[in-house]
C-alpha cells in the first residue's frame, strides 16, 4: 500500500487496484505526464499578475503606517495631488462606510468594515504597514515619490504584539466594538479576546485520575509568513460603462470578485475577475488587499491601474500566520494507552478578529483516540498584520505542542514513539474532541509505513545526532467546484475549470477527466476560466482542488460519456442505454467505436458535445502524515542541520505522483523553515525589524538535504478515484519531528519556535550548567 516514490521516476500507472470495492485498472491515474502549462512556465511565456500590460496603464503605490498603533488625525494629500504625473490619490474615505456589515464568503463570514480597513485604514491604524492612502501615477517611481508628499498626522498609541500580553486586562485595546464571544454570548466590556472556544468529550478529571503518567508542557511559536515568491499584484480597470475588470494573483477568482464587490458595495455582475498565473499562495492570497484599492484609483482616473507590492510590504502588510501559546497535558496508562488530554491555546489573529484558533482546537488532538479531552481556545487581536491562512492554518502550532508531549510520554513510558502512536492512532470510528467521527482514514497505515521505512530502520551514527518522528493532520475540504468541457472533432477535449492552478492542478484535474473518458492526459487541454466563463468555484485551498475539482472533472466525463453514447445509439439505431463504455470504447453487440472515432462523427450526429458539472462534496477527506527527521546539532553554535528527512502521507490516491511528492516536499520544507529559523522580529514599539528575505531568511537549497517521500494510498471512500488531497498536511509535523530529533541529538527539549541556534545553544548551556 505504501510506495517509496522518490527518487525513482515511475512513468507507468498501477496495473490494478481497488477503490471503494470496485476493481479499477488505471491508464492515466498514477502516471506522470508533463504538465499542460509547463512549456509556458519554463520559457517565461506564462502570464503572471505582474506581466499584465495594457494601453494607458498607470501605476499605484500604497502609503503605509509607520506606527504599530495610532489614531489618524488628519491626512493632507494636496501636495501629492499636484505632482506632475500623479493621476489619482485615495484614502479610506473613498471606500463606502461599511460599519458592521457582515458578508458570507463561502468559507465563513467576514466583517466587511474590518476587511475594508485592512485594505485602507479608517480612523485608526492597528499595525505597522497597514495601508493608509494610495496614489496612481504615470510611473511607479513618480507614485513612490508622491507617497512622500502625503502628510499624515498620527497620534501614536501603545502597542502589543505578544498574544498573552494582549489578553491582559490592562493591555492596549485595539477595537472598542469587539466583545468576547463565548458559548454564543457576547461579553459586556470591549476586549482583545474576540472568541473563546471550548470543546469537551468524556470525563477529563476522571481520565487524568486513571493515568499512571501525566505530562503537561507549554509551547510558543512566532509569527511566520507564507513567503510566496510572487508579491501581491492586481490591475483594475473601471471602465466608462462602470464595469470593473480585475487581473490579479489570487487563490480564488470568485471570492476576490465577491470581496471586491462587497467592499465597494456594487453588484457582483459589475465585476469580472481574471485570475492570472499565480506565483504561490499557501493561503495568503485569498483575502483581497490591492483589488479594491486599484479599483477606486481606476474609477478616479479613468485608466487601468496596476499595483504591485514590494517584498517589505508583503511581510508587513499581508497575512502572516498566528503567533501562539499552547499548553498541552496528556495522561496515559503504563501500557501507553492515552486516557485523557487537555489543551489551552491562544492564537493571535493579528489586528482584526477571525484567526486560526478554530482549526487549531480541532487539530490539537486530531491524531489520537482520546476517550476524555478538553480544549479551550482563544482568538486574540493585537498590533500585527491581520493573519491569513497558511497551509493547514492553525494545525502546525497545535501539533508542535501535542506531538512533543507524545514524544516525552514515549520516553517516560519506555515505549517506541511509533508504537505509542499506533496504540492510540485515530482510525475509523474515532470521535474527535470537537465532535466528528472519522470514516476510513489512513493514519495507522502511514505509521506502519514509517516503521517499515528504510529511514526508520537505518542506524543513525555519529556524535550530536538524533532522530525524531511526529504526525500531522489536516481536514482537507470539499466545497464548490465547476467545470465544463468541449469535445473536439479530433477526439481531444478542452476543459475549462474554475480553480486557479498554483501547483499543477490543471494536470491532476485533466488526468481525472482523461481517465473517465479513456483518453490520454495529453488529449485533454485544461484552462482556468475567469469569473465570466466558468461556474462558481471556491478557492484553491484546503487541499481541495484535485479532490473536488477533480470530482467535477469526473462528472464532466460522465456527462460527455452519456451524450456520446446517445450519438453512438443514433448511428447504430438503438437505444442509448444499450450502448456500453469501457476503456475509451463504446460498444453495442458486435459494434464498437472508439471515443476518437465517435468524436469525428460529432458534426453528423447533432453538433457539439459539451459536458458540464458542478459539485459540492460534503465533509472533509482527512489527510494524515508522519515525518521522520535526522539532525545534527553543532555544539558550539547550536545550529541544527537536517541530515535526512522522510515525509509519509496518506494521499488516498496519488493522481500525479510527482506533484503529490512535490506537495509533500514543499510543505515539509516550509515546516522546516518555520521550525528552525523563520520568525517576525518585533521591537518594543511593535515594529517588525526583519521585513526582507535576507533578514527573514527562508530555507535555501543549500540548507537542505533531499526530501524523501513515501506515498501511502488508503482510498477516500467519498471520491470515485479515492483522492484525499495532499497540500496542507505536510507542513504540520516538521516542528515536532525536528524538536524530537534535536532532543536526541543535544539532550534538550525546545518548546519555542523557531529552534534557532541561539535558543538551542542557550538551552544546552542551561542544562550543562545545571549538571
Amino acid at each position: 500500500m505504501a510506495t517509496k516514490t522518490s527518487p525513482d521516476k515511475k512513468k507507468t500507472g498501477k496495473a490494478a487496484d481497488t477503490t471503494n470495492g470496485e476493481p479499477q485498472a488505471f491508464k492515466v491515474i498514477g502516471t506522470r505526464p508533463i504538465r499542460h502549462d509547463g512549456v509556458d512556465k519554463v520559457t517565461g511565456r506564462a502570464i503572471y499578475g505582474a506581466d499584465v500590460q495594457m494601453a494607458g496603464l498607470v501605476h499605484g503605490r500604497i502609503l503605509r503606517s509607520p506606527h504599530a498603533h495610532a489614531r489618524i488625525k488628519a491626512i493632507d494629500m494636496s501636495a501629492a495631488e499636484k505632482m506632475p504625473g500623479v493621476v489619482a490619490v485615495v484614502t479610506g474615505k473613498d471606500m463606502p462606510d461599511l460599519r458592521d456589515k457582515m458578508a458570507d464568503l463561502g468559507e465563513g463570514t467576514v466583517n466587511l468594515a474590518h476587511l475594508g480597513a485592512n485594505c485602507l485604514a479608517h480612523g485608526k491604524v492597528l499595525y505597522k504597514g497597514q495601508a493608509v492612502a494610495a496614489v496612481a501615477a504615470t510611473s511607479p517611481h513618480i507614485a513612490e515619490e508622491a507617497l512622500k508628499k502625503i502628510k499624515v498626522e498620527y497620534e501614536p498609541l501603545p502597542a502589543v504584539t505578544w498574544v498573552l500580553d494582549a489578553m491582559k486586562d490592562d493591555a492596549p485595546l485595539l477595537h472598542d466594538n469587539v466583545f468576547t464571544s463565548e458559548m454564543g454570548k457576547l461579553g459586556k466590556q470591549p476586549s482583545n479576546i474576540a472568541v473563546h472556544l471550548h470543546f469537551e468529550k468524556g470525563d477529563v478529571e476522571k481520565g487524568f485520575a486513571e493515568a499512571d503518567v501525566t505530562i503537561e508542557r507549554e509551547y510558543k511559536t512566532a509569527s511566520v509568513h507564507q513567503g510566496y515568491i510572487e508579491p501581491h499584484v492586481s490591475t483594475a480597470l473601471w471602465n466608462h460603462d462602470c464595469h470593473l475588470t480585475i487581473w490579479t494573483s489570487t487563490q480564488g477568482a470568485f471570492t476576490a470578485r465577491q470581496q471586491t464587490a462587497e467592499l465597494l458595495q456594487i453588484a457582483i455582475s459589475q465585476v469580472t475577475v481574471v485570475p492570472c498565473e499565480i506565483g504561490g499562495g499557501f493561503g495568503g492570497k485569498i483575502s483581497v488587499y490591492l483589488e479594491p484599492v486599484a479599483a477606486i484609483l481606476s474609477r478616479k482616473c479613468g485608466r487601468p491601474v496596476k499595483m504591485i507590492m514590494n517584498r517589505n510590504e508583503v511581510f508587513e502588510g499581508t497575512g502572516p500566520t498566528p503567533g501562539s501559546f499552547v499548553r498541552v497535558k496528556l495522561g496515559a496508562k503504563k501500557d501507553g494507552r492515552l486516557v485523557a488530554g487537555e489543551a489551552w491555546l491562544a492564537y493571535d489573529a493579528g489586528a482584526f478578529p477571525g484567526g486560526m484558533i478554530g482549526p487549531g482546537c480541532m487539530c490539537v488532538f486530531s491524531c489520537y483516540d482520546l476517550p476524555n479531552a478538553r480544549v479551550d481556545g482563544y482568538d486574540v487581536v493585537l498590533n500585527k498584520p491581520k493573519t491569513a491562512a497558511y497551509r493547514a492554518p492553525g494545525a502546525t502550532q497545535a501539533a508542535f505542542a501535542c506531538e512533543s508531549v507524545i514524544d516525552e510520554l514515549a520516553e517516560k513510558l519506555g515505549i517506541d514513539p511509533i508504537e505509542l502512536r499506533l496504540k492510540n492512532a485515530a482510525r475509523e470510528g474515532t470521535r474527535r474532541v470537537d465532535g466528528p467521527t472519522y470514516p476510513r482514514v489512513g493514519l495507522v497505515e502511514t505509521l506502519e509505513a514509517a516503521r517499515n521505512s528504510d529511514h526508520w530502520r537505518s542506524k543513525l551514527t555519529g556524535k550530536n545526532r538524533g532522530r525524531g518522528i511526529a504526525c500531522g493532520y489536516w481536514f482537507n475540504i470539499g466545497l464548490k467546484s465547476s467545470a465544463a468541457a468541449n469535445v473536439n472533432p479530433d477526439g481531444t477535449v478542452t476543459l475549462v475549470e474554475g480553480s486557479t492552478d498554483i501547483g499543477g492542478t490543471r494536470t491532476s484535474v485533466a488526468m481525472q477527466l482523461a481517465e473517465t473518458l479513456g483518453i490520454a492526459a495529453e488529449d485533454v487541454h485544461p484552462q482556468v476560466g475567469d469569473t465570466d466563463s466558468v461556474g462558481y468555484t471556491d478557492v484553491t485551498g484546503g487541499s481541495r482542488v484535485t479532490f473536488a475539482t477533480g470530482l467535477a472533472a469526473y462528472e464532466v466525463g460522465l456527462d460527455i460519456r452519456r451524450q456520446m453514447a446517445a450519438r453512438a445509439a443514433m448511428l447504430w439505431e438503438c437505444k442509448p442505454e444499450e450502448v456500453t463504455f469501457a476503456d475509451g470504447v463504446f460498444r453495442r453487440g458486435d459494434k464498437s467505436t472508439s471515443f476518437k472515432e465517435l468524436a469525428g462523427k460529432m458534426h453528423q450526429t447533432g453538433g457539439a458535445v459539451v459536458g458540464r458539472a458542478t459539485v459540492d462534496p460534503e465533509g472533509p477527506s482527512h489527510g494524515f502524515g508522519a515525518h521522520i527527521a535526522d539532525v545534527e546539532v553543532d555544539p558550539d553554535t547550536g545550529k541544527v542541520t537536517v541530515l535526512r528527512y522522510t515525509a509519509l502521507q496518506d494521499a488516498g490516491r496519488a493522481i500525479h505522483p510527482s506533484y503529490v511528492e512535490g506537495q509533500m516536499q514543499g510543505g515539509s520544507v516550509q515546516g522546516i523553515g518555520w521550525a528552525l529559523n523563520e520568525e517576525y522580529f518585533y521591537d518594543d514599539s511593535g515594529r517588525m525589524r526583519n521585513a526582507s528575505y535576507l533578514d527573514y531568511r527562508m530555507p535555501t537549497a543549500f540548507d537542505l538535504p533531499m526530501i524523501d517521500t513515501i506515498i501511502v494510498e488508503v482510498p477516500n471512500p467519498a471520491h470515485p478515484y479515492g483522492v484525499r488531497g495532499v497540500g496542507e498536511t505536510p507542513i504540520v509535523a516538521p516542528p515536532a519531528a525536528l524538536a524530537a530529533a534535536i532532543y536526541r541529538a543535544a539532550g534538550v527539549r525546545l518548546r519555542e519556535l523557531p529552534m534557532a541556534p541561539h535558543r538551542v545553544w542557550t538551552a544546552k548551556k542551561m542544562t550543562n550548567d545545571e549538571c
Binding site: I34, K41, G44, R311, M698, T700
Partner: protein
C-alpha cells in the same frame, strides 16, 4: 524629469536599444520597456534570484543592475534559453522532474543553473545546492529542482 539615456545592448542574440532613466533597473527595462516579462520580480533587492539573467555570461540579479550599466553588454534572459524549436535540456528536465509548482521562481533557476552548467558541467549535489542558494523557491523544497539540474547535466554531457 531627468533626461533619458540611450543604451544599446545585445539581448538574446539580437541588438536591443532603449531609453532609460538613470534610476531604472535592468529588470524594469526588460519587463516594462522591452516586454520580456519572463524574468520575474520577487523582492527587487537581490534576495530571491527570480530576476536572474546572464550578463556577459555571468548570472546577475537584474533588479540590482542599473539599466544604464548594460551599455554594450550581451544579455541572455529566460526567453533566450531555448534553441529555436527546441527546449534547452534544463527546461526539458525541469518539466520531466516536475521541478516547478507555481513556476514563478523557475525562470531564475533555469538561467542560474545554465550559468552553473556552462562553468561546471559535472556539478555534485553540493555544488548545485551551493550555486543555487541565491534563488529562492517556496513551493518545491528544492528536491526536484536539484534532480532536474543533475539530469540536465547528464543530458548535456551525452550531447557533447
Amino acid at each position: 524629469m531627468v533626461k533619458k539615456t540611450h543604451v544599446s545592448t545585445t539581448i538574446n542574440g539580437e541588438t536591443a536599444e532603449f531609453l532609460c532613466e538613470p534610476r531604472q533597473s535592468l529588470l524594469e527595462i526588460l519587463r516594462d520597456t522591452l516586454e520580456l516579462t519572463g524574468s520575474k520580480e520577487g523582492c527587487n533587492n537581490g534576495n530571491c534570484g527570480a530576476c536572474t539573467v546572464l550578463m556577459d555570461g555571468l548570472p546577475v540579479n537584474s533588479c540590482l543592475v542599473l539599466a544604464v550599466e548594460a551599455e554594450g553588454a550581451t544579455i541572455t534572459t529566460i526567453e533566450g534559453i531555448a534553441e529555436q524549436a527546441h527546449l534547452h535540456p534544463l527546461q526539458q528536465c525541469f518539466l520531466e522532474n516536475a521541478a516547478l509548482q507555481c513556476g514563478i521562481c523557475t525562470p531564475g533557476f533555469i538561467v542560474a543553473a545554465k550559468a552553473l552548467l556552462d562553468r561546471n558541467p559535472k556539478p555534485t549535489e553540493h555544488d548545485i545546492r551551493f550555486e543555487l542558494a541565491g534563488n529562492l523557491c517556496r513551493c518545491t523544497g528544492y528536491d526536484k529542482i536539484v534532480r532536474a539540474v543533475q539530469d540536465a547535466a547528464a543530458a548535456l554531457e551525452g550531447k557533447h
